[in-house]
Symmetry: C2
Subunit: 369 residues, 2 copies
Amino acid sequence: MKFDLSKISQPTLLLDKERVINNIARMREKAQQGNVLFRPHFKTHQSAEIGEWFRQNGTNKITVSSLRMAEYFAKNGWQDITLAFPVNIRAIDKINEIAKRIRLNLLVENVEGVEFLGHNLQTPVSIYIKVDTGLNRTGVWWQNTELVEAIVSICQKSKMLEFAGLLTHSGHSYRIQANINEIYSQTAQRLNELKSAIKKKFNVPCLLSIGDTPCCRTLESFEGIDEIRPGNFVFFDVMQHQLNVCAEEEIAIALACPVVAKHENRQQIVVHGGAVHLSESSMPYKNGSEHFGFIVNLSENDGWGKSMADSYVRAISQEHGIIQAGESLFTQTKVGDLIGILPVHSCLAANLMCEYLSSDGQYIKMLGG
Amino acid sequence: MKFDLSKISQPTLLLDKERVINNIARMREKAQQGNVLFRPHFKTHQSAEIGEWFRQNGTNKITVSSLRMAEYFAKNGWQDITLAFPVNIRAIDKINEIAKRIRLNLLVENVEGVEFLGHNLQTPVSIYIKVDTGLNRTGVWWQNTELVEAIVSICQKSKMLEFAGLLTHSGHSYRIQANINEIYSQTAQRLNELKSAIKKKFNVPCLLSIGDTPCCRTLESFEGIDEIRPGNFVFFDVMQHQLNVCAEEEIAIALACPVVAKHENRQQIVVHGGAVHLSESSMPYKNGSEHFGFIVNLSENDGWGKSMADSYVRAISQEHGIIQAGESLFTQTKVGDLIGILPVHSCLAANLMCEYLSSDGQYIKMLGG
């Protein structure tokens, strides 16, 4: 038995352990074949226990997106952590505390940040420059060699700052109809141009790191890149599936939701499962409206199967999910049943739920849970 | 001093206690003047301590939206709790556990639910029928007197089910350009028509309860209604302000966010403060795009002032907030500063943050924190 559904009385985040283990193994293998370092992003699962599944697979370097996560995973034995968020200098005390215990890799993207670190760090850290290769969210624009050189130069003058390389997040690969191959080529080319400029002036190592799951998953090889930091792949989700990044069968979490009402005139089912469980992330549905999750049947022995072609989460509020049901789902479903929802964005759903029920019968805690 | 900003190093949810106390007092006074029962919804703040501020103001009946909240507030001394969500019969053990300790009021909207309760409850509870007066989310459609009568009839035959009244949530009052007066009149009229039908057949009390903050806040009187259950008013938010339900000066929480980067070419400021802090709730901005929060200056002595006319949160991702800054904000702001964001939807932001820093210097815990 995968899940003892009879014991589930509240919205519960089910985790198919076999799928997670396979997702981890496949991505790690890909990194090995592509001859790149594998530094998975743990912001998706945020769980010490799931971290152990990575460790068993040979992972020893990780990525996180907040100091809180860095602290949590450092406490759980991770010795080499990249905090992939522009450094928050207000948190220097916590940074010093963590940097004393592990190898901490920080991101900078301005002179103020790196100078502040140089003056206030008590232990050496590795410094990556966050580079904007096209997403336009944050980072030094890849053509701004002047600023990049200024940062490297500050690192070279400081005993606390060891310049390590360039890091980018090509998050524009998440956009619908993005050309993922093209984005990868452009990203790699831009990072390498910048690296050449650095190498002309400085005798430093310069590792190149990328992070988005779409590129990491779909590319055949990682020419010109040294490290990948995908995160979402551990669970995948409907968004990645709709972006053609994963097969639906690879989605490894589903929210089990109790049915509380049925409305025949509009063929809708109301479940306990809303914005505080799934987040408000939505994607376009095939009928032109937006949806907040795909619907699956839950089974004790098999977990969940293929999503239903004619049913979807049409609306959510704080605690409610409104399922627009196909005829067969509507007819079969009774008040008190459980319905499974594949989340649109697994990182945000996991962050809200704080706990998983694994297919091996264990409840798995995460940061904040 | 209201807030010791120098001690804030991470995204922190600031709470202006004076504003909260005023918001509570004003709504309670309104209920008293309108001669309706005041049963505030605690799903917005989810905090035992803030609950005490209500208690000090004379509140002794509350509303929650999940059994988890019912359990938490029952443990914190609340003796009369309405769980304003269609009953989840899978959770009957927990329902029985809580019903033994306090007066628990449950919502039903179908025969299956109420029959199940009749057979499985171990302690009597009060039953409200959830009525759909126009929102079309959930509840018995107000004209479906047949189903309502069937439910009342089941209650009458059971020792465990005490029929208490009709409850609705006119959530369509949250829609942009909703005519709140019209929605209220229609809601009250529909509930009263249904009540008349019940009274013709059954000799039962039939309390009428409404819940949306827009109606509760803006109506001058509550003719035809017995109870109000507003929740959001305790903090309000940018959504309520943009719906003309509250003044901006009444918004009682703001997220303090560390500035990590500035991008001059697009006049944007990047803060630590994203979807895991604010949620993804958005509203239309005056320039036609959507926004994820208004921007305020934070001050140690005064908390925060009026939002800036030319700056807003333009985009968010898991941890990042991207602020489109007006010239003066952009020029004044340095990396390492704190910027305040008024959330679009305070219920979801509070649910994510799990903790408040109050203007009296105390950290206030909440459920899950």
